[in-house]
Symmetry: C2
Amino acid sequence: MTHSKTTSVLLLFVCLTVFYSCAKEKNNAPFGGTWIDLSYTYDAQTPYWPTAEGFQLDTVFEGMTEGGYYYSAFQFQSAEHGGTHIDAPIHFAQGKQTVDEIPLENLTGEAIVIDVTDSVSDYIDYQINVNDFENWEKKNGTIKEDAIVLLRTGFGKFWPDKKKYLGTDQKGPAAVALLHFPGLNPDAAQWLVDNRSIKAIGIDTPSIDYGRSSTFKSHRILFEKNIPAFENLANLDSLPTSGSYIVALPMKIKGGSGGPLRIAAFLPEK
Amino acid sequence: MTHSKTTSVLLLFVCLTVFYSCAKEKNNAPFGGTWIDLSYTYDAQTPYWPTAEGFQLDTVFEGMTEGGYYYSAFQFQSAEHGGTHIDAPIHFAQGKQTVDEIPLENLTGEAIVIDVTDSVSDYIDYQINVNDFENWEKKNGTIKEDAIVLLRTGFGKFWPDKKKYLGTDQKGPAAVALLHFPGLNPDAAQWLVDNRSIKAIGIDTPSIDYGRSSTFKSHRILFEKNIPAFENLANLDSLPTSGSYIVALPMKIKGGSGGPLRIAAFLPEK
């Protein structure tokens, strides 16, 4: 075999190998990979805002029927904003999207994770600030257009201990003053809407504004731009800094200001 | 240039083209494509089983706050099995999966659509039978392992007209005898679990068993094998016979026998 012929055969082999691996990849797409559940279960212990009705499940029937087969069914009640849930823009921005109006395109896409666990472990009322985003970008590059931004504070480890996770296990309006947990600084929310183009934001605390907030400015800034917020996210410590894909599918409540959210991250095969 | 050299250069060019298109594909994966929402909204008109509590949304607050900003929040109640929802296996099979126990892997995957619209338009109490599956396979090949099987009856066009969609708009136990809609024949359910290996099943009617059923045998056969059912699916007429991918994310109710389901189909770019 001449040298040229050897090269040709080698190239053909490489070409076929690439093509085969490409075809294999395509065959598995888009679901060759692993799903990670970012939602907590709803039960009687699920943390809710001190002023909100909690989750309640009532048995309709459970056991053997007259027909000789097993049957179980329940009914439930809940505030929209408890457990792993979505805040629709209209929650704090008049005329903006209700939960059923948020396009699926804005609830799905590539995620980035900003980790502020160290700062929060020093100070639980920490507010994620512009520096945190700029430092992330120094290491990882500019936040991509249409990213879903997930804020990891490490507060997931306290779930569902209300005293540690919310700052209080008391109910009622007076208990709101006892809330302590980290959140997003309104300056950083403003920086995000002014300088970046993101689809949605999420956090592993009860609210995108920190527990001490009484004006909910980060909510108002984001929601005015129809950017919804995912709250009480689970398992953020299982996600890479980038390269995961989010599918966030809230209960489709007509006119709802939010609602229960089942959200999962997909890690494509390398 | 010799003939061999020309061949080498040509092969290199082909190889690079394939590699480039492969890399491009990977970069877009898994979300280069279109999402289709298969869920209806929940509101006061949402059809429920005659014996079940319907959906109710109550206003907690809506309007301007003392702080000078807009705010809205609601709370709601619902039976687990109404609107676009999932039946978890434990709904009819003791000891099988509750809704929070169904793995995400079983709620995601490639869908096939079996269309029986013509048969149903002749007879609304039609039961999808083994012949329907065998005919589908003659045209499309054997149902793939791990498929999510969607049954399209055309009943979506009646939603949310309870008289047409359920067969009755009356409530209470006596109204159950008035139910009329198509479903899956228990023989076909048995054929599926005996001969194929599917992840989940879905239908665009209120129930996987047809309206005349009083024994719910298709439920019992499927659920005994931990195959959940998606009911009251929307927009099945927008799906191709194969090649769409389902992401079905139910509300994660601890111990639930089912619950509200947000389900979407993904059509990858060709």
